[in-house]
């Protein structure tokens, strides 16, 4: 019954216009960034390498598809969660608002399975978003800008990664980015279980992300113990795949924290959804 319910959720997501909003938004956003970089990307790079260029010169195809993809990911890290929450935040509360939750909850399927099918469908949608982002950023970027070594500016300096060494990094980076966005999806579905309208969970999810991001960037001691536990702190962990040497322990820690977040959010959702009186 879980598989059948999940199929139902896929059908519903595919039929909603807002599901395509996220994909269209990514296409437009990435398109704009690619256009801008094609028009004046070297100035952007010069700004980054300015202080090095007094003594050094950089030869080779710096503004290549790999760097462009990296810049795209860097710029969109705040915006993609909204595109995910727009769909996943509606999965439970949207049914309540529409009244269909009443119809679903009188079927033989257990509420836990019904909810899990929504989590699975939300997860698959999130994966589609990440894959599309990857295609637009990496593939289209390489078609326009060609390939080459990747120059990454970290807080401790420049890292130049060789082209042959980049593929697996992007795969790992996207995998962790997916896990981070899956956390956003889980959070929005969890909030959706507490609401009977569509907008509330979406807005609340974004508010939480913004609040946690601000806490994460405020360099004050009072937040030092809290910061490593916030999921937003680990949303940028995909970048760790572009450091040399690879901070394996840090990446593992991020994965564990994000997985724990997902599990806790799912458990809270199951608890709430099973006890919820459906009066709408």
């Amino acid at each position: 019954m879980l598989i059948k319910s999940t199929l139902n959720e896929f059908i519903k997501i595919a039929a909603k216009p807002r599901s395509y909003l996220g994909l269209a938004a990514i296409t437009v956003l990435v398109g704009v960034i690619l256009f801008a970089l094609k028009a004046d990307g070297m100035s952007f790079i010069s700004f980054v390498t300015a202080s090095f260029e007094q003594t050094l010169t950089f030869e080779g195809n710096i503004l290549n598809g790999n760097l462009v993809a990296f810049i795209v990911l860097q710029m969109l890290v705040i915006h993609i969660p909204l595109l995910v929450a727009l769909v996943t935040g509606d999965l439970v509360s949207g049914e309540a608002a529409m009244g269909t939750i009443r119809m679903l909850a009188t079927k033989p399927i257990s509420r836990t399975k019904l909810l899990m099918s929504k989590f699975v469908a939300g997860g698959v949608y999130t994966l589609l978003i990440v894959i599309w982002l990857g295609i637009m950023a990496v593939f289209v970027g390489k078609v326009i800008f060609g390939s080459g070594d990747l120059m990454v500016l970290n807080s401790d300096g420049l890292v130049i990664l060789q082209e042959a060494d980049i593929g697996w990094r992007y795969i790992g980076g996207f995998a962790v980015a997916f896990l981070a966005l899956l956390t956003v999806s889980s959070l929005s579905i969890c909030l959706s279980c507490f609401s009977d309208n569509s907008i509330g969970p979406i807005v609340t999810t974004m508010a939480i992300i913004i609040l946690f991001t601000i806490i994460g960037t405020l360099d004050v001691r009072v937040f030092d113990n809290v910061r490593p536990l916030l999921f937003t702190t680990h949303m940028a962990s995909w970048r760790s795949f572009f450091e040399d040497p690879l901070p394996v322990a840090q990446i593992k820690e991020s994965i564990v924290i994000l997985v724990i977040h997902n599990i806790v959010l799912i458990l809270i959702s199951i608890f709430k959804f099973n006890r919820k009186d459906i009066t709408s």
Binding site: F47, T57, E59, S155
Partner: protein
């Protein structure tokens, strides 16, 4: 009186002779350099620069008289801004500098003449160039170039098969890194929770080693190679 004149002569002649020697040495060096009409060489660039991490990268270097120079790299290569063609370019303009013999020094067991080159113009980017030249082979063993824009770049030259052309098989650049800064807010990690070690003293220099192999000298290189 005569004695004083002789004393003055004895003092001046070595200076005059030495200045003439410096120019002579440089002339011979230039002549040897002009013997190379063009060359291409494969380069393996290994960098050890603070705040920059890069694996050894490969490139091909092209040169054609009198000042055509190109580095063709498949990946990203980091090279010093100064030091490749600066010496030959600088030394070719005889009236743009003054060369002074500073003495002799042994470099890796070879006796080298130390010659300082000062630009005539006050507005030149070059402040000072110091060359250690093996006069018997007309090759530069070491150089130190100080410019307003790039600070001081030191270069150590090692020669092997292409010694007859004056072309090194290894160059080691030492560059000034004091001015390196990371721009904030651009392409930086947003939520880094770690802290940088501020107890370690900041490095002041970095090193770039270039191993040159597979020289093709005076085989002819088309001009299009330098314009693509």
């Amino acid at each position: 009186m005569k004695k004083i004149l002789w004393l003055i002569l004895i003092a001046i002649v070595p200076v005059a002779t030495n200045a003439q020697d410096a120019n002579q040495t440089i002339s011979e060096l230039i002549n040897k350099m002009h013997g190379v009409k063009d060359y291409s060489v494969d380069a393996l660039i290994t960098s050890d620069i603070p705040m920059v991490k890069i694996l050894p990268s490969k490139a091909t270097i092209y040169f054609k008289q009198k000042d055509k120079f190109k580095i063709d790299s498949k990946g990203i290569a980091i090279l010093p801004k100064q030091g490749f063609t600066d010496i030959s370019k600088m030394l070719s303009q005889r009236d743009a500098y003054t060369a002074i013999f500073m003495g002799n020094e042994a470099i890796a067991g070879t006796n080298a003449e130390v010659i300082s080159v000062f630009p005539v113009s006050d507005t030149s980017d070059l402040i000072l160039a110091k060359l250690w030249i093996d006069a018997s082979n007309d090759i530069v063993l070491k150089s130190q170039i100080t410019t307003r824009s790039s600070g001081t770049v030191g270069i150590v030259y090692t020669y092997a098969a292409q010694k007859k052309w004056g072309l090194p098989d290894q160059l080691i650049f030492t560059v000034d890194v004091k001015k390196f800064k990371i721009p904030k807010g651009v392409a930086t990690d947003i939520n880094r929770t770690g802290t940088t070690d501020s107890t370690k003293p900041a490095a002041k220099t970095g090193e770039i080693k270039i191993d040159l192999t597979n020289y093709k000298v005076n085989l002819g290189i088309k001009d299009e190679v330098f314009t693509k």
